[in-house]
Amino acid sequence: MSSDAPGARAALDRAADRMLRATVVERFAIAVAATLLALLLGSVVVAASGYDAVEFVSSLVYGAFGTTSNLAFTLRQSTMLILAGVAVAVAFRAGVFNIGVQGQFVVGGFATAVTVLFLAPHLPGGAVGGVLLMGLGTLAAIAAGGAYAALPGMMKAYADANEVITTIMLNFIASGVVFFVVDRYLRPAGASAPNTETFPEYVALPSVVFDSASFSVVGLGAALATVLVVYVVMARTRFGYDLVTSGYQEPAAAYSGVDPERNVVATMTFSGMVAGLAGAVFTIMILGYYSDPSTFPRFGFDAIAVSLLAANNPLGVVPAGLLFGGLDAGGQYIGFTLDVPPELVDGVVGLVVLFVAVPELFRMAARRTGLGGRGSSESPVRRAESDGGDGR
């Protein structure tokens, strides 16, 4: 190191340097920086379009956390984003680009709706029936989501069809077919909207803490439990090891006895099962009926941003989901309080994803500002070099 800075400064640099290299800390720093940069750019766009940027940001924050009902809305969106985010993370971790979480979510929710509506007349009412229906509906969603995801998994494994494209196509197809079935066969007589009947009132999650018709702490709890389960599966089971290893280095996984084809299918199925679960929570907790999927929120896409922000780590999905949930709630609040078009928030989400994709940008910025220690801007910080530090 050819730094002529005084010793204290050099020590500080070294510390910062080491921190930047530690992957978790680095990922976290990059996620925060990406979000801030995206918000900053968003504000610039707001100002450039002739709106009040300060008001934009403060309304965003107020809309997300300002009141209990705002907070409930944030948590509701976060619940969905965490679940869908975990679904994405499972696949991305294994190196499979499942862009079809939205479609799997739609199909899963649909399975819940069909199960609840068809079984309700045959089961007792009240709490027992409610729990039973919700349980069976959720199982159906998990099965349907998994099956719908297995399809592109098999296409990738056995026909080499690029999963990014097949899953996007399957999103369109899920939406079209579900709409058709709902409108044609499940719409009650006399109704004009392409909606199914509303579920019996006992098919609902209880309101605890928050008095909200579409958010229940139980739902959030289910999401967090799912995170935990997925985390344990990924970190502690041999299935998780196979999956993550395939994501890091496919040839090494094959060498270790993973059947690449079956692993792709298994990964997609696992991911789709979580997406299906998200569909069940959406249907039971938020909707209470089923409808035209093209009018649904695009949780499955926002979840991609959530997962990437979390570096595809299931635990990281929780804070990332909270952040995006807040952005969603704040964005909606902006929609009906300010002149600023709410689509802007979607754009900001896109910017977050973009910046997360470019860690090198932040590493370089860190070096430029002197935080990264090494004066040379030529040699990028590589993990391989860090063995000097870790090697003891």
Binding site: R236, T237, R238, F239, Y241, D242, T245, Y248, Q249, P251, A252, A254, Y255, S256, G257, V258, D259, S379, R382, R383, A384, E385, S386, D387, G388, D390, G391, R392
Partner: protein
């Protein structure tokens, strides 16, 4: 070579650092016009780096480059090419999907009205071929991926000549060639120097340097240790310069008592990723306590054979039987569980997950093996203990199981992989090029372990293209050529020249003429007699007999 003439190339005090690694440390080097100058040194000595500096790929941290006595600064290969320097890389710089003509003219395309003028390119290339007697003009419209390595190498040379190179750098050109192909390369090199070109010839093989070069420079740890005239030095001297100490190895006498057949293969046929047949009907058997060496020039189906045996590649036809059971259709995982282990050729891509620490790497391949897993769950404590055992026993540096695999040097990565695979006490070990890219000390270590395994009764199938290694370790040697076993021989009954002929697809009897042509004095000194009593000779052709 007149003394008054300026050298074709002179490098003066070249230093090149990569982070903390000093790949070249104030290296001086000078190439006389019309001569061949060999550059030798161990893996990682800095040979390729030095030449990359000359070729404008790297910007040196210090030092000057002179071409024809003039000081030059090369910002890119284009500048070097313009100054008449051409380089044929260790890994060919050819675009597989383009034709030979397109590859040759790449970057220097003659154009008419904006369109590439292929016909003028074609006639220029044909001229070059007829001048130097290359056969490349037969393949002008063939895509490179369809050509054999030897032809590809000549395409590389034609490419440099087409660009008007007066100075040609050949980086380990012989590594992938059969001895016979090496001979014809040397003829080409002669032709080139006769016509006034100057060549730099990088090699690990001291005999080749002695045979083909006029002068030899030895690099060690990035420094030029010295330059000697080929006529006035010996292999011993060069070896000492290279390694920095005397090199001597002793192996115990071969005394094996093979037991039952562990692995047998019958009529095996295997295709590669491009659906071309690479293994075309192989029969073999490996017994307990025996090492079967598979020799051959790379790309003759060894890789596919090994993958088929270890369950990584589907079999087209034939059967594989292991301990009496037909395992042709058995999955890779089941084969691991039943006691087949595999040291893969590519430790970076296959043997290790680079981003994992050694603990997590210790589980690789052991995912279903007790005590590392208990039902569905991984017992990370046991895995960690195992990783630490391997690190200690196999002297992996740094001795830290939490180090990421990527931070280890190639040799240490290899030691870890070998350790992990041998710890299984397998019934069958398949080892593919286990010492490639590994330094001499580690090679010795790995060889010892393989022999220990054999002595403990394991059946070993060992693939290598290093003849000395093959001859030293194997109890029997199967020579593979174009997907078939040309012959299975006793290593003590053949010399390296004969093995070389077999590797070129010729049986010993039918090749008298080639043996003759190789019988010039330089070659003779390379050849080790089959009756060589000294139990061992060192790697890379360093021998203690003279």
């Amino acid at each position: 070579m007149s003394d008054t003439e300026a050298p074709a190339v002179r490098l003066d005090g070249i230093t090149k650092r990569f982070g903390d690694v000093t790949a070249n440390d104030a290296v001086d080097f000078s190439l006389e016009k019309g001569s061949v100058h060999a550059l030798v040194g161990e893996n990682g000595a800095g040979k390729t780096t030095l030449m990359s500096v000359l070729y404008g790929l790297y910007d040196p941290d210090a030092g000057d480059i002179f071409v024809d006595g003039e000081r030059r600064e090369f910002d890119s290969p284009r500048d070097a090419i313009d100054a008449g320097v051409g380089m044929i890389h260790q890994h060919f710089q050819l675009v597989d999907t383009m034709t030979v003509v397109q590859n040759v003219v790449l970057g220097h395309e003659p154009s008419v009205n904006g369109l590439v003028d292929e016909s003028s390119a074609r006639s220029d290339i044909e001229d070059i071929c007829s001048t130097y007697g290359f056969d490349v003009d037969r393949f002008l419209d063939t895509r490179v991926e369809q050509l054999g390595v030897g032809v590809q190498q000549r395409v590389e040379i034609v490419k440099s000549l087409y660009r008007g190179a007066d100075v040609l750098v050949l980086d380990e050109p012989t590594a992938v060639l059969t001895p016979q192909e090496v001979e014809s390369l040397f003829e080409v090199m002669d032709e080139l120097t006769d016509r006034g070109r100057s060549l730099i010839f990088i090699t690990h093989k001291l005999d080749e340097a002695l045979e083909a070069a006029d002068e030899i420079t030895v690099l060690r740890d990035g420094r030029a240790v010295g330059t000697v005239a080929a006529a006035e030095t010996s292999r011993e001297e060069l070896a000492r310069m290279m390694v920095g100490r005397d090199v001597l190895f002793d192996y115990p006498e071969r005394e094996t008592t093979p037991g039952d057949v562990t692995l047998s293969v019958d009529g095996l046929r295997v295709r590669d990723d491009r659906d071309l047949e690479q293994v075309g009907g192989v029969d073999l058997a490996v017994r307990e306590g025996e090492i079967l060496g598979v020799a051959g020039v790379e790309g003759n189906g060894q890789a596919e054979l090994v993958e088929a045996l270890t369950g990584l590649r589907e079999v087209d036809a034939g059967t594989v039987t292991f301990e009496g059971e037909d395992i042709t259709e058995t999955s890779r995982r089941r084969r691991i569980e039943s006691g087949i282990t595999y040291v893969p050729e590519d430790r970076q891509e296959e043997g290790l997950v680079q981003d994992y620490d050694l603990v997590r790497n210790a589980l690789l391949g052991n995912q279903t093996i007790e005590p590392f897993v208990d039902g569905w769950f991984v017992d990370w404590g046991t895995v960690r203990d195992h990783a630490e055992d391997i690190v200690a026993e196999y002297d992996v540096q740094p001795p830290n199981a939490d180090a990421e695999a990527a931070s280890l040097s190639g040799g240490n990565q290899q030691k870890f992989v070998v350790g992990r695979e041998l710890e299984h006490e397998p019934s069958l070990l398949v080892a593919s090029h286990p010492t490639r890219g590994v330094d001499i000390g580690s090679i010795e270590f790995i060889h010892e372990r393989l022999l220990e395994m054999r002595d403990a009764g394991t059946a070993v199938l060992f693939v290598s293209s290093k003849l000395d290694e093959i001859r030293k370790l194997s109890d029997r040697v199967a020579v593979m050529y174009e997907g078939e076993f040309v012959d299975v021989v006793d290593p003590d009954d053949v010399d390296e020249q004969e093995l070389g002929l077999l590797m070129a697809g010729r049986t010993v009897e039918a090749s008298g003429e080639t043996v003759e042509s190789a019988a010039d004095p330089a070659t003779e000194s390379v050849t080790e007699s089959p009756t060589d009593e000294s139990a061992g000779s060192a790697t890379d052709g360093v021998s203690n007999r003279e």
